[in-house]
């Protein structure tokens, strides 16, 4: 410091006395500033002296009193009084015990100044100025700004450049210090939490704008606002809410940079100065390093090239995976990893317990908005078997969520206060407001007083005998009776928690958890027991040889009992396959008496421990997993040989076929029933709905199409389990919400899912009900079980390849021997169970096709069909004759069919009708379909010749895709336009159409022309592709625009297809649609007959 140092120090006080001086200073000539200032200062000092020092001091005192009334009570009052007024040196003097000299010094300030400066110079020359920590004794509140201090001015700046601008102001003021335009601001500052503004300390706004003038990114034009004096200190007291203070071991953070950017990490320790934190996180070790980067091989020889990042070369970062010594040395070689005690060192990083442990700079981690997801945390916690540690994690999660109290406490909770003035108090939570709780004290002395408390100061209180439920953690969902409550010894972070031990209602084992994770609950553990897609008691495949049943679920792992009666702790990823439930339902084994065992049966071991239990799963017809709640071991699950079981219920009779008709067999799995059928013929009727194709007509699944798998009774409220065609999902739904689809339609869909096509025959009885001759036959002739029996829908569901071929191959009927012959064995293969239904139903379908129906139905179809119908007629005897006899008979019958297709009519049909494909025609088994459909659905109205003129279509007229038919017959224009597709441009008696050359909509390369056509030749084109837009031509929804939501089957013109109303349609009638679709109205999805629509361009 120079000898000129003192003048500016005095300046404050000069200014206080005479602000005009300060204001005029800037304009004064500063050519010889040093000399100017000194005289001035002297003058002022003299002025002050003249006023007498006492006056001076009094003034200061009054200033202080303005700020703080407590002043006088402070022991240091005298000292403080001087604080504002006295130069530093005097404070220093004070510290060095020369307090008494102050008054004198005051009077001789001038001399002292000079003396002091010299002293300082000497000191500076001799080394560093002694650090004195001056002013640190003064309480902060006494430093509050007074009216004599310069003001703070808020200036708008460009967000993000605040710091830069503050630096610029500093540099600018230093640079201009000795120029004729010095910057006269006293300070400037910026706070990170106040973006877009800086604060400048100056005497006037004009000084501020002068200082900011010329700086880029400062917007003085947006106003220089005076900060009220009482807010000045607040600006400097801003604390980041989420500041570094909160970093304690266990805090969750995110990494900012590098290959771990965004990864969650947990703070392990914090260095002394809080600048670096030790964190651990899940490593991303590249286990497939590229060879060409010199990595893999080289590293083998070079044990620890710290610099190289194993994955820095690869573009995508490797997945998170806990460090696995074995895996890593496999890839990088044994030398790459060195082991030091418990930790591994690999490529310069330290790995402990599978995690990377690393010291990281505080500014390369993200502390805010970490929001760790459960999955991420699971990675950290899954390894902790140790209770203590797990709990540390959990408590930290709760803390990290910042709503710890809220998350944990709920009104009605019983809490006790463990810190603060009210410690020891207990009561019930009444209200929660943010972080504040209102509790009603239970202490009799407090008379149920309501007390507000910070949420952090309370913890939940439990006492032995309480029935509790675990709200979070590995044991979530467990309930039980508290047996003991213990304070944790670890007071560091755990003091809000006590360990509560309770006996689980489910496992009867003691479980210890922290009180904060508990709630009092009356209910008994009804935990969902689902981890991922695995549920308690699921049968899962662990490896090729091992399956097991989950008997206990943890937060992220299961305990599994394998078929060898071993218990294993398994994580979801170790499970290779979950056995499908229906799969397991289908499996059958025999008990010691040779009776069948099915899932759900109550069985008993015939020897050994004679344990009883309900069959959960049967594995390979040999092992049975049973469950008995009374057995404590393995969660009540045990495994035994199926052969060693006896039924507890007298159900063996069932297998012998003695069950009286009418018994509720509907719950039985159809597959199982099918299997049983092998031994039992002529069982009572099952619910005929099973296997039927249905449409959901109400509820959230409305519009979905599916097959009934199972029902549990009769009546509209009974539930049916419906396997949806979409999404392979099975839903339970009331029967009343289902509408049976007609099998004709099924057949249409049969073209799509091969399984259905072939199945159709079997399902006929349902679809047709009693209406068709065949149905009747089925009903009455059901005695042998063949005809009346429902086909095995599972066989259909199986969709075994055999069936596929069956359905895909051109209609065996049509194609005679070869087709039928191929077909037959295929079916046998397809249905694994010796299921007579499928077979007999195959015959049945033949039987169902009475010639009469054929003829009658096909009236409006091609003539050729009629011929075919004749041909078809003959299978009936064959079919019916073979219906009972099983497949063997059918084969013979099929041989009789052979003759049928060969009837000229049919042959003719195949050759002449559809141009090339047989496939669509193969589906035609549909012929019956079609007819059958017709009998139920409203018949398609013959398009009126003037259909185009219907007013309801006028809106979409120009969209309609029409084709030209009938010109050949009438020789209109020589039939040159026959078959062409066209767009209507306008319609009157003769429509103006735009003709696309090709009948195929896809190719438009041909000539396009416009011409008029008599509308009687213009017929609508039915939609043929999914997602096509179409316009409804008939019925109450006439004129609406719809979108096809199902791929129409080319083979069937009258197929019911699922359509979705397009938004711009007018809402339409809510009544029935498509003739058969009672409940179809009003919703977005419904069904419409294909030929009721005209596709749009």
């Amino acid at each position: 410091m120079s000898d000129n140092e003192s003048p500016p120090r005095r300046k404050l006080y000069d200014d206080e006395e005479d602000e005009e001086e300060e204001d005029s200073e800037g304009s004064e000539d500063v050519e010889n500033e040093g000399s100017r200032k000194k005289p001035k200062r002297v003058k002022q000092r003299q002025k002050r002296d003249a006023l007498s020092r006492f006056l001076d001091i009094e003034a200061e005192v009054s200033d202080e009193e303005e700020e703080d009334e407590d002043l006088s009570s402070e022991g240091e009052a005298g000292f403080i009084t001087k604080e504002g007024a006295l130069p530093e040196d005097e404070d220093e003097d004070d510290l060095s015990g020369r307090h008494h000299a102050r008054v004198d010094k005051r009077r001789q300030a001038e001399e002292y100044r000079a003396e002091k400066s010299a002293e300082e110079i000497a000191r500076e020359g001799g080394g560093h100025r002694r650090f004195t920590g001056e002013m640190s004794e003064i309480p902060q509140r006494l430093l509050m700004p007074s009216v004599h201090d310069a003001s703070l001015w808020q200036v708008r700046v460009k967000p993000g450049r605040e710091r830069e601008i503050v630096f610029s102001l500093m540099r600018k003021s230093l640079d201009l210090e000795y120029t004729n335009k010095p910057v006269s601001i006293l300070s400037a500052f910026q706070r990170d939490s106040l973006p877009g503004m800086i604060y400048v300390e100056a005497r006037s706004a004009q000084q501020v704008s002068q200082a900011c003038n010329g700086l880029v990114g400062v917007y003085p034009s947006r106003g220089i606002h005076l900060v009220p004096i009482d807010e000045m200190a607040l600006l400097l007291m801003i604390k980041k809410v989420d500041g570094g203070e909160k970093i304690v071991p266990g805090t969750w953070v995110r990494l900012k940079r590098g290959k771990y950017a965004g990864d969650l990490a947990q703070v392990v320790d914090v260095t002394e100065n809080g600048e670096e934190v030790g964190v651990r996180f899940v490593p991303r070790i590249d286990l497939n390093p590229r060879e060409d980067d010199g990595g893999g091989r080289k590293r083998k020889k070079n044990p620890a090239p710290n610099t190289t990042n194993p994955s820095s070369s690869s573009s995508s970062r490797p997945p998170q995976r806990l460090f696995n010594f074995e895996e890593v040395i496999k890839v990088y070689g044994r030398n790459a990893v060195s082991k030091r005690g418990q930790v591994f060192v690999f490529l310069g990083d330290t790995y402990k317990d599978g995690f990377v442990e690393k010291d990281i700079k505080l500014n390369s981690i993200i502390l805010e908005d970490v929001n760790p997801t459960l999955d991420e945390i699971t990675m950290f916690s899954s390894n902790n078997t140790n209770l203590e540690e797990t709990m540390v994690d959990l408590s930290i999660i709760a803390e990290a969520s910042r709503k710890a109290a809220l998350a944990v406490l709920q009104p009605g909770d019983h809490v006790e206060v463990f810190q603060g003035e009210q410690a020891g108090l207990h009561g019930t939570v009444q209200e929660i407001h943010g972080d504040t709780l209102t509790i009603i004290a239970l202490d009799p002395a407090l008379h149920s007083q309501k007390i507000d408390l910070p949420a952090r100061s309370v913890r939940k209180r439990f006492k032995p005998g309480d029935h509790v439920k675990v709200m979070q953690g590995k044991n979530t969902g467990e309930t039980g009776l508290v047996v003991s409550v213990a304070d944790t010894n670890n007071s560091r972070t755990m003091n809000e928690n006590t360990i509560v031990t309770f006996i689980s209602d489910m496992s009867m084992q003691e479980i210890s958890v922290f009180s904060k994770d508990l709630r009092e609950a009356a209910e008994v553990g009804n935990t969902t027991n689902i981890v991922g897609e695995y549920e308690l008691h699921d049968l899962v495949q662990l490896d090729l040889q091992t399956v097991g049943v989950i008997y206990k679920t943890h937060q992220s792992s299961f305990l599994i009992l394998t078929q060898h009666s071993q218990s294993r702790l398994v994580h979801p990823h170790q499970i290779s396959l979950k056995k499908d439930k229906s799969d397991s339902l289908r499996s059958i084994a025999t008990d010691s008496h040779g009776f069948e065992i099915r899932v759900g049966d109550m069985m008993k071991e015939s020897e050994g421990e004679q344990r009883k239990g309900r069959v959960l799963h049967i594995h390979q017809s040999h092992f049975a997993f049973l469950f008995n709640r009374d057995i404590a071991e393995n969660g009540g699950v045990f495994v035994t040989r199926a052969r060693g079981l006896v039924s507890i219920t007298p159900k063996g009779a069932l297998g012998a076929g003695k069950l009286p008709p009418g018994a509720d067999l509907t719950k039985m799995n159809p597959a199982a029933a099918g299997g049983a059928q092998g031994s039992a013929i002529g069982r009572g009727p099952r619910d005929r709905l099973i296997g039927a194709h249905v449409v959901v007509i109400k509820g959230p699944h409305k519009g979905y199409v599916g097959i009934v798998k199972d029902t549990n009774g009769v009546g509209l409220t009974a539930l049916a389990r419906v396997e949806l065609n979409t999404g392979n999902k099975i839903i339970s739904i009331e029967k009343g919400k289902l509408h049976k689809k007609l099998w004709g339609n099924n057949n249409g869909s049969g073209g799509r899912t091969p399984g259905w096509g072939s199945n159709t025959g079997g399902r006929t009885p349902f679809g047709a009900g009693g209406r068709t001759p065949f149905g009747a036959g089925a009903g009455s002739g059901g005695a042998p079980g063949g005809g009346g029996r429902t086909p095995n829908p599972y066989a259909a569901g199986n969709q075994t390849p055999a069936w596929n071929t069956g359905s895909k191959t051109p209609n065996p009927y049509a194609h005679g021997n070869a087709g039928a012959g191929n077909q037959t064995p295929a079916w046998n293969v397809g249905s694994k169970t010796p299921n007579p239904y499928t077979l007999s139903s195959g015959g049945g379908s033949g039987g169902g096709a009475t010639p009469g129906r054929w003829d009658s139905d096909r009236n409006e179809d091609n003539d050729t069909h009629k011929d075919g119908g004749g041909g078809w007629g003959s299978p009936i005897p064959a079919g019916s004759g073979s219906g009972i006899g099983g497949w063997g008979a059918d084969i013979s019958s099929s041989s009789s069919w052979v003759t049928i297709p060969s009837t000229p009519g049919y042959a003719h049909l195949t050759s002449s009708s559809s141009s090339s494909h047989t496939a669509p025609y193969a589906a035609p088994t549909p012929a019956p379909t079609y007819s059958d459909y017709e009998s139920n659905a409203a018949p398609t109205p013959e398009p009126s010749p003037t259909w185009l003129l219907d007013p309801s279509l006028s809106l979409h007229l120009s969209l309609l895709r029409i084709h030209i038919l009938g010109t050949k017959l009438d020789k209109y224009l020589d039939g040159a336009y026959e078959g062409l597709h066209a767009r209507v441009l306008a319609a009157s008696r003769t429509a103006l159409i735009k003709i696309q050359g090709q009948p195929e909509p896809s190719s438009e390369q041909d000539s396009q022309s416009e011409r008029s056509f008599p509308i009687k030749y213009l017929l609508p084109v039915a939609p043929a592709t999914q997602d096509a837009t179409a316009v409804i031509l008939y019925g109450p929804r006439k004129g609406q625009k719809v979108k096809m939501r199902q791929r129409p089957d080319e083979g069937s013109r009258t197929e019911l297809v699922v359509v979705e109303s397009v938004v711009d349609s007018g809402g339409g009638g809510a009544s029935s649609e498509g003739g058969s679709e009672e409940g179809g109205g009003g919703g977005a999805f419904w069904e419409c007959q294909k030929d009721w629509m005209c596709v749009c361009w």
């Binding site: 230093l174 210090e177 400097l236």
Partner: protein, 121 residues
Amino acid sequence: MSDAASAIIPPTKSRHLRACLLCSIIQTSADFRSIGCPNCEEILQLKDNPDRILACTTSYFDGVIALIDTETSWVARWQRTAKYARGMYAARVKGRVPEDVEAELDSRGIKYRPRDQSEQD
């Protein structure tokens, strides 16, 4: 204004800005190494002592104050930097000085005030 002692004004863009835990002055770590802390060098002895710099300064601070007229400025008084060199100071500095510094301050009868605003009076 006179040529009162000014600290080196670090470049704005510097990535290595650090704040002294004791006086909250902001400098680059290079400056701390070459000249030490302009205010507390006597007690901290940061010069040519990188470990000491790491221990006694931090890069974790919030708010930058340009102190131009340390004597007059209320901000400086409030921040208790009025007697210090002109320069850039941090409004809030995270962390505490090492214990030996605290002990030293104590032995000199100086009350240590952490710059993290954790203690208010």
